[in-house]
Symmetry: C2
Amino acid sequence: MKKAIVLLSGGVDSAVTLYEAKVDYDCKVLTFDYGQKARKEIDHAKLVAEAAGCEYMVLKIDLPWKGSALLDKEKKIPEGMESAEGGIPDTYVPSRNVIFLSFGVSYAEAIGAEAVFIGAHQMDYSNYPDCRSEFFDNYRETIRYGTRAGVESHSIKIETPVIDRSKKEIVEIGDRSGVPFELTWSCYHGDKKPCGKCESCLFRKQAFEEAGVPDPGVK
Amino acid sequence: MKKAIVLLSGGVDSAVTLYEAKVDYDCKVLTFDYGQKARKEIDHAKLVAEAAGCEYMVLKIDLPWKGSALLDKEKKIPEGMESAEGGIPDTYVPSRNVIFLSFGVSYAEAIGAEAVFIGAHQMDYSNYPDCRSEFFDNYRETIRYGTRAGVESHSIKIETPVIDRSKKEIVEIGDRSGVPFELTWSCYHGDKKPCGKCESCLFRKQAFEEAGVPDPGVK
């Protein structure tokens, strides 16, 4: 079976992406410990990877310059649906997906994997620049020129199976493919229970409601 | 003064790049500890940054999948000028510059720097795919779409001042701008003295000879 690297955050989007990927690929899961306040998501990513029966690795990434409410203790994680207002939210992490993909591609090259999967989506109110199709399209060209794989054989595919799906649709897809939603973690905070107030909690709530799928909550 | 991030390896090319960059920018130096056998180059990068009077940071990067003779103890660093034969050398590190640039861009975004400098060059026998103009041209487009800086204001510039220079010319430029060559380290090994046999040692020797500049050796 062909191999793929799947970037898994522990949230719903990347869990659904993993379950899509594992239909066609032997998936190696890569999760980043990048200093996020929501450290629990790392444990949840592990649980999801185990449930999916996939080999699993956590990679520590140091971003001492921070520059995001998700990383910086001095910056409060906003409540409410900030992204719905249009701008790039304070939770944007400088060049996060540029960094994450670069490790995914390196891993893929080293083990001869054909693809890197990432659960980005650009629908709804997602205003992260590094979740847009234009970014991924350009990234594909970049690694076609800048890697051994791109020059010598096939370029590593960057797969974004949920890029044009709404959150509602992502929940529906995951519901059909048996994603263990009870193992996922969406909250931007890392407290015992999800806060229910941050944008990520609110998006999750809305998505499950719209999809008519009961959110099992956190196990 | 405008700020720039300069990626500094401790070798000649990046040292010359730093001295070019600091003419126009307040330079923040970023060096990667990525598990390279030539660990001495990290200390040499620090010495060069200090000589240039620049703020300095070493960032640890974990590449557990290795995939390069520069990282993997099981793989011998080749002797001789392997690249002169055409293929991509065993010293290629999977997606190294893709990764390094992504951290440079993240740092630049976080502190509001305008540019990231990298000492890549595609002349002579440089067969690294991630040292080619096509790679950098595509990378510029990618971050124009995938970063807050690219969307909201100016995109981060990726500056490659020696990209079309031969090693000989790089030595000539550095000689004119006062680069402390005696503080640089080129050898792929990390022994007390440069081995004189690896490709990097041989390229260095040839470049100084062709430029007619005496190599001061290692301090």
